[in-house]
């Protein structure tokens, strides 16, 4: 049994909130660059260049890449040999409180969905914990902006709808979103499980680096087909028209019921943020 203190977790979460919001993951920045180089429409290419310029400005001026510094989605893979000394969940909330304060990040969380009073410190975090073998604790902070979150959709399809039904739903989601989610987007697609599981899979899919296809060749091919279809819609960067509507797409799946085919699409933007530390 290895002991990790609540204070260590708090410090890591605080650092990760700041890092995730100021430095884009290398795979997302590389995808942006690759898409700019292969973008055939001049206005779209210029727009992608401006988005790259924003990354430079953020770094040089120590500013968040986007003003929507998001809801702090925190994913923890906790080794079963680890004992956390102190209050585990409170340690994470405290880390978010500290990171969003010290990093001059925006506080975007309201305490109640209908009465809407701001919590003033961006807490609570949205925490997802998975118990895994080992004595490590991997913490990922993935701040999620709501311009794109609001364009996400879930459907309980019929098994007869099959792969064509899933494709239609994903592509329709992108078409309906149009310019709203700050394209070029990143898409997390969850297929299977139950109503809630499909959404959780879609969210988790956004954590996968864009240069890593699904390990199952069937789903890797489906990811490629969907990406090609989405990038022929013409929406383009910022919705001004062009090829680059989506930077990358990841599918995650789970066993499901004989009667169901749940599918969820979690839409994210060109500022798809995540940062990880292993304690």
């Amino acid at each position: 049994m290895r002991t990790i203190s609540a204070a260590e977790i708090t410090a890591a979460v605080a650092r990760l909130c700041i890092r995730a919001n100021t430095v884009l993951p290398a795979d997302v920045a590389a995808a942006l660059d690759r898409c700019r180089q292969s973008e055939p429409w001049p206005l779209a290419q210029e727009t992608l260049g401006l988005l790259q310029g924003n990354l430079v400005q953020a770094k040089e001026r120590d500013l968040p890449i986007c003003q929507d510094t998001g809801m702090a989605c925190v994913f923890v893979e906790l080794g079963q040999e680890v004992h956390v000394a102190g209050n585990f969940e409170e340690a994470i909330h405290q880390g978010v409180r500290r990171g969003y304060g010290e990093g001059y990040l925006r506080k975007s969380i309201v305490v109640d969905p209908l009465r809407r009073v701001n919590t003033e410190d961006n807490t609570p975090a949205s925490i997802t914990v998975r118990i895994v073998p080992g004595d490590r604790c991997a913490v990922t902070v993935a701040p999620k902006g709501f311009g794109s979150e609001n364009m996400s959709r879930l459907a309980m399809l019929k098994p007869a709808d099959g792969v064509e039904g899933v494709k239609r739903f994903v592509v329709d989601t992108v078409r309906l979103a149009g310019p709203n989610p700050c394209p070029p987007t990143v898409l997390g697609v969850g297929i299977g499980g139950s109503f809630d599981k499909a959404a959780a899979l879609a969210k988790h899919a956004l954590l996968r680096p864009l240069d890593e296809p699904n390990p199952d060749p069937f789903y890797a091919a489906l990811e490629g087909e969907l990406l090609e279809e989405i990038n022929s819609l013409g929406i383009g960067p910022q919705g001004f028209g062009g090829k680059t509507t989506c930077l990358g797409l990841a599918i995650e799946t789970a066993p499901t019921h004989v009667a169901g085919l749940p599918v969820a699409v979690n839409v994210s933007c060109h500022v798809t943020r995540r940062a990880t530390e292993v304690l």
Partner: protein, 193 residues
């Protein structure tokens, strides 16, 4: 085509703008998002004046990150404008001339833009650090309790914007993708033997 504009703007200043043109905007710009718009409607319902002169004004839908000590503003890109659709026509009818945000507007807003000779301009979504560079002054003018949603007066210089809705019914979110797709079609026809 690129235009330079300074607020407050007149209807005739906006008439030459066409969807797809770029604008470098200077002068005073007020910020307001969902909560501030809701309160502005309550003021109007109560027969009270708005917190800023609305004639010829520009409203930027933004909730910036907190500014560091010694800095004018934090990161300051646009939020999704569609959430303001319920409120914008009333403000446009009162003389607001420029809306700045990102994302699609509904038909009621499009009609109000044409009716009033106004424009809807896009700032670069997700490019908060870049957009912040054009802001030279910031003052919270009311509803400080709304935090990032408080109404701020910004003085901007050459803020880079793109015309989405023009006063003549143009909409770049329709014409931009259509032009790209038409270009593709033309290209593939040209490749036929």
């Amino acid at each position: 085509m690129q235009h330079r504009l300074t607020t407050p703007v007149r209807r005739k200043d906006l008439a030459p703008l066409r969807a797809g043109d770029t604008v470098l905007l200077s002068g005073t710009v007020y910020t307001a998002r969902d909560a501030a718009h809701k309160r502005m409607m309550e003021l109007l319902d109560g027969g009270k004046p708005l917190p800023f002169p609305v004639g010829g004004s520009a409203l930027y839908y933004v909730g910036p990150t907190p500014e560091r000590p010694g800095e004018v503003i934090g990161s300051a890109g646009p939020t999704t404008s569609g959430r303001m659709d319920a409120y914008s026509p009333r403000l446009l009818d009162l003389g607001q001339a420029v809306m700045i945000g990102k994302g699609a507007r509904n038909q009621t807003v499009k009609d109000a833009v044409v009716r009033n000779g106004a424009v809807y301009l896009a700032a670069l979504g997700g490019a908060g650090a870049l957009m912040a560079a054009s802001v030279k002054e910031l003052e919270v003018i009311c509803w400080e309790d709304l935090g990032c949603e408080a109404v701020r007066r910004l003085e901007v210089e050459d803020m880079p914007l793109t015309v989405i809705l023009d006063a003549h019914g143009g909409d770049l979110y329709e014409s931009g993708p259509a032009a790209y797709l038409a270009g593709l079609e033309k290209k593939s026809e040209g490749e036929q033997p």
